[in-house]
Symmetry: C2
């Protein structure tokens, strides 16, 4: 995200603190989703929420002179995120035995484009857009259960955020926590959860694959 | 499908005309979907419609002695269909430039399992289950348009069935007809449509890839 901002800045001759800009953009995500979750806004896909946040930030950071096409392209920086270095290899292993899919607040096109950009070998795309509810609404975690006619205990939620896993666990899903020390940048390191909080606590997808025996 | 029936027949010592059985099973698909489309039935996923048809056919063909697990496994023969021989290579070429996805009445798990079984390199799964409408309801063809925020003319429906393409064309989508002489078995060969009926008329996915320049 920061790299995309810097590239745009060079092209347009902008002087912007892109790390602060990226933090602010990401910071707008939770509140925007909550406006949908609480009924203040009708269902709105994440691309549109991101764009609303972006338009506010362009004003706040006094970024001027972008064409509509440039804004639309920059908004889709979320479709072009780079994966953690272990992701492609780890998912490729897990996929041999399991059906793997993201369960994400990103809309269907965002996740599909991300997979294509990053080479992520997902078997299906479980976007919260499919049920028109954002996490942690229960409809989102129950998607795989419903689509595959499974018991919740036969589905595992894998995430780097304890809140996400707690919501899944409360519905009876199994859980795996992947510790990503750099998830919030180098300055704000997350604490790993206490042993036993989740079914698995691992450092990356490779370790998860080893622990489940694939 | 016939091979799956023959395998089951050998295991269980059954004497059944599996070609006739497969035809009858497939024949039950349209009427069952129409019961959903006309509101006689609430939304029901294809796996469940297939199972209802299967239970009727087991009675009609006097097939007895199957356990529930055997019936459930046989019902999922639709998850284990073999692709046309050109499909994987042709789709792999098309996928380099385009986002490719099935637009199918098969439910999400059916299509995901089919892709995994057959190695089909789809970028996303567009099942009619996602909009709870069966084809040719317009909601199904407009799925890609809505998910990707595209004009209909920027989406192409590719199918071996003219009726499917006509429904897509009426909504402004582009269309490609793939001629599959064996689609209904060797005895009942479909006529190819007249030149100009669709944007492309090709013999397989390889020819389609060549015609669109990938």
């Amino acid at each position: 995200m920061i790299a995309e901002g810097e590239k745009l800045g060079r092209e347009k001759g902008l002087k912007v603190d892109w790390a602060a800009f990226a933090d602010a953009w990401r910071g707008g995500y939770g509140p925007a989703m909550n406006r949908v979750r609480t009924g203040q806004l009708p269902w709105t896909k994440l691309d549109v929420l991101h764009r609303t946040t972006l338009d506010g930030l362009l004003e706040k950071f006094k970024i001027e002179g972008l064409t509509e096409a440039e804004k639309a392209h920059f908004n889709k920086a979320w479709h072009r995120l780079h994966p953690w270095p272990d992701s492609v290899a780890g998912l490729t292993r897990l996929r041999k035995r399991f059906v793997i899919a993201p369960l994400s607040n990103g809309n269907v096109s965002l996740l599909t484009n991300m997979a294509k950009f990053a080479g992520l070998p997902w078997d299906a795309i479980l976007s919260t857009e499919l049920v028109r509810h954002y996490k942690p609404d229960k409809e989102t975690y129950l998607m795989a259960v419903d689509f595959w006619d499974l018991e919740p205990a036969h589905v595992m939620m894998v995430a780097a955020h304890a809140g996400d896993l707690n919501a899944a666990k409360a519905l009876g899903l199994r859980t795996a926590y992947v510790h990503r020390p750099l998830e919030y940048g180098p300055a704000r390191k997350p604490e790993p959860p206490a042993a036993g909080t989740f079914d698995f606590i691992v450092k990356d997808f490779g370790e998860l694959a080893t622990q489940v025996g694939v």
